[in-house]
Amino acid sequence: MSEPAHAPSTGHELEQSKFGLYVEIAMLLAVITGLELVTVYLPFMRWLLISVLVILSTVKFMFVIFYFMHLRWDKAFCTILFFIGLVLAGGTMWALLKLFGSEASKPLDSARIDPPAAVLRVS
């Protein structure tokens, strides 16, 4: 999570070591992407595969925002501000998927829908 900024001397050392850190993280992200690809072809239960994919994507997401986007070194307010948007977006997605994923939300089969009375009168 976010930490207060370091003293200039420590900050300078940090800038020097960031190059190697960024390359390592990028390689890790590439490996995780490869793992995601392998995961979809594994003969396991669907819920397990979906869970693994969600976890791997979340790990990638967190690495990018905390290291590449500097949230780890910036003030905590930046993290809070971004997570407000993220939580609202995630909450909206969750609510919509729950609503439309329920049995009662399944669309009616068009072949089984009785035609409106007006249509019957015309025919």
């Binding site: 900024a5 200039p8 001397s9 900050g11 300078h12 800038e15 960031k18 190059f19 960024y22 390359v23 993280i25 990028a26 992200l29 590439a30 992407t33 995601e36 690809l37 995961t39 979809v40 072809y41 669907r46 595969l49 979906i50 994919l53 969600v54 791997l56 994507s57 990638k60 997401f61 990018v64 925002i65 290291y67 590449f68 986007m69 500097h70 070194w73 910036d74 003030k75 307010f77 930046c78 501000l81 971004f82 407000i84 948007g85 993220l86 609202l88 977006a89 995630g90 909206t92 997605m93 919509l96 998927l97 439309f100 994923g101 939300s105 399944k106 669309p107 089969d109 068009s110």
Partner: protein, 205 residues
């Protein structure tokens, strides 16, 4: 500017603002938070229609090309690395390194856009999936097209910054401008991380 001088500027704090955060950075984080909700709605819409596909919807697995999309994802991740190195370079006052990093990021961004154009072309002309002939096409093209538009805006912004770096007016003191651009570019990357899983990979399970 020499590397030794880099430690003199604190790139993560601005004591002149009430929050201690540079105003431009705060603005960008607020914008990205709102863009999260925008993409959240687009992704939800796509997933809802995938939960209950109407009759006649083509199987997405037969339409998508996971090899091409994986390549695009790898390219975008590498562009994020180059963008992070560009921000690191300007914070050290290293203009030469900044230019090379920006140029590589633009290059990777263009490859990503090229892959997307190829994919769209393939879907429309080979797979006969258009934005109007099925719900899958409507939600897919709207979502990935909006993301592609964000990438295009990012590439234009990067190109502008690259040209500006040759005017001699860009220095370590302006690193916040490059950092803002970097935040935007990384955001485009994290949105793709979610799209790659939610839109493409889930179809293969």
């Amino acid at each position: 500017m020499s590397t030794a001088a880099a430690g003199a500027i604190d790139h993560h704090n601005d004591p002149t603002t009430s929050t201690g955060i540079p105003n431009k950075k705060l603005l960008m984080w607020a914008f990205l938070a709102s863009d999260c909700m925008f993409f959240g709605c687009l992704i939800s819409t796509h997933l809802i229609y995938r939960l209950h596909p109407p009759p006649g919807t083509p199987p997405a697995r037969q339409v998508f090309s996971i090899e091409l999309t994986s390549f695009s994802t790898f390219i975008l991740l590498m562009s994020s690395l180059m963008m992070a190195l560009a921000v690191n370079a300007i914070q050290k006052g290293n203009l030469k390194s900044l230019r090379w990093s920006l140029l590589t990021t633009i290059f990777f961004g263009c490859i990503f856009l090229g892959c997307q154009v190829y994919e769209f072309r393939n879907f429309v002309f080979e797979k006969h999936l258009t934005i109007t002939n099925s719900i899958l096409g409507t939600t897919f093209f709207t979502l990935t097209g909006t993301h592609g538009l964000h990438v295009l805006i990012g590439v234009i912004w990067l190109s502008g910054m690259l040209i500006y770096s040759f005017t001699g007016r860009l220095g370590e003191k302006d690193s916040i401008d490059v950092e803002m651009m970097g935040l935007y570019w990384h955001f485009v990357d994290i949105v793709w991380i979610v799209i790659f899983t939610a839109v493409y990979l889930l179809e293969y399970i």
